[in-house]
Amino acid sequence: MCAAPGLLLGWQPGRRLAPSIQGRRREPVAPRAGARGAHPRRDGEPIRGRASRLPFAVVRGYAGSDHIHHGAPNVSTVTCPFTGEVLTAVAALRPDVAIAHTQRADRQGNVQLWGIAGIQREALLAAERTLVTVEEIVDTLEPRPGASIIPGWVLSYVREVPGEPFRRTRWATTPETTTTTSSGTRSHDTETRSCSGSTPTCSTCKGPPDECLSPVPAARGS
């Protein structure tokens, strides 16, 4: 399988995604520059830092632990300029790609999600390129209490892949349901998408299309 470096896997609300959460724990989400060892935090804070386009996030609670000594350059201290308190800084993670699965999108690529969102929003806003798979693509997103919408213009690709977490093969067999997200300026392009439904093998990794995780073309603005 040819996974992009710095791939960040999101998770879906609901029981069906339980294996995906375990996958999140195992999947190495490597920080980029000169990393020594793994980032001690692979969840909220480093992603929140990057989603904000800040170089780090601030937390308490690492004092006295070995992270600051061993975790460099990913964990360090920072002194509050207002109170003088010494706090812990955790370096932002910079994923190349984030993949999330949600309930719905409309044909403009606006994505609706509800339930346990975890860090899906932050992951999508932190990554350079994004792919959102959804259970269904609808004409109009009906408002729903507790649901939030991620505007299509901030995403790279949206695709209808019902049951995606458990049936990855659907990825390669429903090319007609792909939608792009920048107001019609991009369209589904089998030339640039190396894994398409009509391609028996991935032209990038030469493997089965359903196992390739590298086909997302350059994102808007990059």
């Binding site: 998770w11 879906q12 609300p13 609901g14 029981r15 069906r16 995604l17 339980a18 995906s20 959460i21 375990q22 724990r25 020594r36 060892g37 793994a38 001690p40 935090r41 692979r42 969840d43 909220g44 804070e45 992603i47 929140r48 937390v59 308490r60 609670g61 690492y62 004092a63 006295g64 632990s65 070995d66 992270h67 061993h70 308190e85 010494v86 339930g115 346990i116 969102a117 975890g118 860090i119 929003r121 932050e122 507790g146 458990f166």
Partner: protein
């Protein structure tokens, strides 16, 4: 439901551990729960003596009231029964770090006499023999919560004299206690194992054996500890689980184990 298992009278050591952890939770307190034994213990407490226990799961679920044990922190059973669902960064920032949680559970791959915890590496940090899951939110749980319960099976491999890496701080590191390190919260106030219960000495922070489970000899606990474990002069024997505790626990576990996974 498997009646034969429910009516099985003998209590195994993991059941003592889960029941002892459940008894440590007070009604109306707010509890940060992890999947596995902490979740089982918290849900057991909620069904017995602590019906108003507020369960918070790391995925962003506040006030969950699961009817069956969740399979993961992303289980929809948590979502549909929750008072509120927020994002993971919100849970850590606005709730945990803002000291809105009374008690948090932690596990450990290694634990020392001051209840410092290692969940990062076994062996040298740069050339580890085993790379463990890492800190996750543990350092923040260890300081954000009012107090911490540690739940871990006791063996010389886990209860060690010297940690390979200190992931989250317990009661003391070297000469520095929690106050000197600037750590909020009381830290670990109880370590519940399959053999007994250990609690920190109020003066030194060193763990002391305060209770052994029925059928466990003190010598067995000492043998399963990698340092010279102090034994309280008031050593107690853990009260046997009541029939209600035992049956509720088994029903909980059985309902969880027979649940379809998709």
């Amino acid at each position: 439901m498997n009646v034969s298992l429910l009516s099985q009278p003998l209590v195994d050591r993991d059941e003592y551990m889960t029941v002892a952890a459940a008894r440590s939770l007070h009604d109306h307190s707010v509890c940060f729960v992890g999947i596995g034994m902490p979740s089982t213990a918290a849900n057991l407490a909620k069904r017995l003596h602590a019906p108003n226990l507020v369960l918070i799961y790391e995925s962003g679920v506040i006030g969950a009231k699961p009817t069956v044990l969740p399979l993961s922190i992303g289980d929809e059973e948590l979502a549909v029964t929750a008072d509120s669902i927020v994002s993971v960064p919100e849970i850590f920032n606005y709730w945990l770090q803002a000291h809105r949680v009374d008690v948090g559970f932690l596990g450990a791959a290694q634990l020392d006499r001051y209840a410092n915890i290692n969940t990062t590496v076994i062996g040298d940090y740069d050339h580890p023999r085993v790379r463990l899951p890492g800190a996750g939110g543990a350092p923040q749980i260890a300081t954000g919560c009012g107090e911490v319960l540690i739940i871990v099976r006791q063996s010389r491999r886990t209860f060690v004299e010297h940690l390979d890496f200190v992931t989250s701080v317990g009661q003391r590191r070297g000469d520095a206690d929690r106050a000197a390190l600037g750590l909020a919260g009381r830290g670990p106030v109880r370590v519940v194992t399959d053999l007994g219960i250990l609690e920190p000495d109020p003066d030194t922070g060193e763990l002391v054996l305060t209770s052994v489970h029925p059928g466990v000899e003190v010598s067995e606990v000492l043998e399963a500890t990698g340092w010279t474990l102090r034994v309280s002069p008031d050593l107690a024997v853990t009260e046997e689980p009541t029939a209600e505790e035992r049956d509720t626990l088994r029903a909980l576990k059985m309902a969880g184990s027979t649940r379809p996974h998709d």
